[in-house]
């Protein structure tokens, strides 16, 4: 099976709100001293792909579209044991338009493909959009299986466990397919071994320039703000746990939830 995983490098989404700053004029977040990481769900996607290959067989190529330093994300993916890496290198960060990003990725995938399975995270941790996977599926003419947690193969049939609002379900689908991945306990990303990190640093990464994309035809960001909260928490203190609990119960009665 020939497998592609699309990963995006983003500012660590787990930083505390205290370290999160924006440039309201440039309308983007300020990186500052915050680390860059692979967007979480993309790591889950890579983990699902790696587990699939370990159990069955196949070759994994990771793709990223971004500036030169996105190479670090690809190196980490190689250290997790992806086989090949492709950087679709741009002089500017990928913008908010997921259509454009999807088209760039689809071109790259066509050039290096065809792939049997193309993986995405369910959504990137900065855009919070969840669109690129479907755009690429459309561009490549592939069906899409979304919110997948696990893949299994039996004979020549591929089964996907996925999550919906109703619960979990299992679907059967035949490659070629596009797949978006969501987190669950079975696909928590592995931590690469030191030896593999060293090996990954020596690996060849295929780099292709995509230049700078024109302004989006679809959307323009007009403001970026940090929403303020007017909630003031009332701390329920007391010497004994029972005092705190009693005060809470009183409050809940007052607000009529009990």
């Amino acid at each position: 099976m020939k497998i592609a995983v699309c990963i995006k490098q983003i500012m660590d989404p787990e930083i505390s709100p205290r370290d999160f700053k924006i440039d309201a004029d440039a309308k983007n977040a300020v990186l500052g001293k915050n680390p860059l990481v692979i967007s979480t769900f993309d790591e889950n996607a890579l983990e699902v792909a790696l587990q699939y290959v370990e159990k069955n067989s196949g070759e994994i190529t990771v793709f990223t579209y971004g500036v030169a330093k996105s190479e670090d994300a690809l190196r980490k993916a190689l250290a997790m044991k992806a086989d090949n890496a492709v950087l679709l290198e741009s002089t500017k960060e990928a913008g908010w338009d997921s259509y454009q990003t999807g088209k760039v990725l689809a071109e790259g995938l066509k050039k290096h493909g065809p792939f049997d399975l193309v993986f995405f995270g369910r959504q990137a941790g900065d855009s919070d959009a969840g669109i690129v996977g479907a755009v690429v599926a459309e561009e490549l003419g592939l069906p899409l299986v979304s919110f997948v947690t696990t893949i299994n193969q039996k004979d020549d049939k591929v089964f996907f466990d996925r999550v919906t609002d109703e619960g979990r379900e299992r679907v059967e689908a035949s490659p070629p397919l596009a797949v978006t991945v969501t987190n669950d306990e079975g696909n928590t990303p592995r931590i690469p071994k030191v030896k593999d990190i060293m090996m990954a640093n020596r690996k060849q990464i295929s780099k292709e320039s995509v230049g700078e994309l024109p302004a989006s035809d679809f959307m323009e960001i007009i403001s970026l703000d940090i929403p303020s909260s007017d909630v003031v928490c009332e701390f329920l203190d007391g010497n004994e746990p029972a005092d705190k609990v009693n005060r809470l119960v009183e409050k809940l009665k007052e607000s009529k939830v009990l």
Binding site: E169, V171, E172, I226, V245
Partner: protein, 319 residues
């Protein structure tokens, strides 16, 4: 005149409740015409009487959700219309169909939208970005757009009259990728009570709960309160609870009367799923945890100490 088309689904005959949130959002626009495309089986269009809906395009005969056939059905319904804005709920079906719909129609696409308004320049939508740490406003540069609304971000429309709606039946024709993705079975999760989306009271646990076994403290409290148990992503990833219990931006979006957060730090991605909760209580050992800037009431203490006492007390007064 802006023509807004809301899309509803009825897998078991009843239209999904979030359709009424879409209609509520559409009604905040002035000078609009409102239509509904309803996809599913044995759809009861009477439910739509009284909401200012002009016309309903019914694509009937699809009992079970199947991504390609539903997509084709919605497209079929839209053929008959000249939509300016297509509104869908950003639930699991909407998030699958929305992007493909927009691409096929050549519309702009905005997802996870919490506010939308018409301006002189065109449609402007507000959506959280950077995991909810910031909010961005985007101007639609195109003429048309598909907008996925974050569930529970808009109030449901209220019934205002008894004017009958015009119904047009559209016949569905299967095509394209139909049948390529087949549902084999629905997998049951254990210990599921009320659906989180509908729960009035939720007791949610995070990494601070510490183990799978300790979630039983939360279950007991939830039982006494007649509520459900939810979780943060960290508790899901640790394997303590099923991924279907995850609450947040990438889990369920809930709107309970009471949300009790136990050992949850209050990451914006988690709180994105809780913003519609009426009352939030947080129990956390760390007085500096961000959860306390969202919670109405806070107890700074070990939940191991607090929860058994709270459960006992509530059992007393509620029985």
């Amino acid at each position: 005149m802006t023509h807004i088309v809301t899309v509803g689904f009825a897998s078991d005959g009843k239209l999904n409740k979030s359709l009424f949130e879409l209609i509520g959002a559409a009604k905040s626009f002035e000078n609009t015409e409102l239509s509904v495309v309803a996809v599913g089986s044995t759809i009861d269009t009477n439910e739509l009487v009284g909401y200012g809906v002009k016309k309903v395009y019914v694509v009937d005969g699809l009992s079970e959700y199947q991504p390609e056939s539903y997509l084709n059905a919605v497209l079929k319904g839209l053929d008959a219309l000249k939509a300016d804005i297509i509104l869908l709920s950003g639930d699991s079906i909407g998030r699958e169909l929305g992007p493909r719909l927009a691409i096929r129609k050549g519309f702009s696409l905005f997802s996870d939208v919490i506010k939308l308004k018409e301006t002189n320049q065109g449609l402007v939508v507000t959506k959280p970005v950077y995991g909810g740490k910031a909010e961005a406003e985007f101007l639609n540069k195109g003429e048309t757009a598909v907008v996925l609304l974050r569930p529970k971000a808009h109030d449901k429309a209220l019934k205002s009259d008894d004017v009958a709606v015009e119904i047009e039946k559209v016949t569905f024709e299967a095509s394209g990728f139909d049948g390529l993705v087949r549902i084999i079975e629905k997998l049951k999760d254990e210990g599921e009570g009320v659906k989180l989306e509908d729960a009035k009271i939720i007791v949610a646990g995070g990494r601070g709960v510490g183990s799978k076994e300790n979630f039983s403290y939360l279950e007991e409290l939830a039982l006494v309160l007649g509520g459900s148990v939810g979780a943060s992503r960290a508790a899901v990833d640790a394997g303590w609870v099923s991924t279907t219990l995850q609450i947040g931006q990438t889990g369920s979006i809930v709107a309970p009367d009471l949300y009790i957060a136990v050992g949850i730090s209050g990451a914006t991605q988690h709180m994105a799923g809780v913003s519609a909760a009426k009352h939030i209580v947080a129990i956390n050992t760390d007085a500096e945890a961000p959860i306390f800037s969202f919670a109405e009431y806070g107890i700074v203490d070990d939940y191991n100490v607090i929860l058994p006492v709270l459960t006992e007390k509530l059992r007393e007064i509620l029985s």
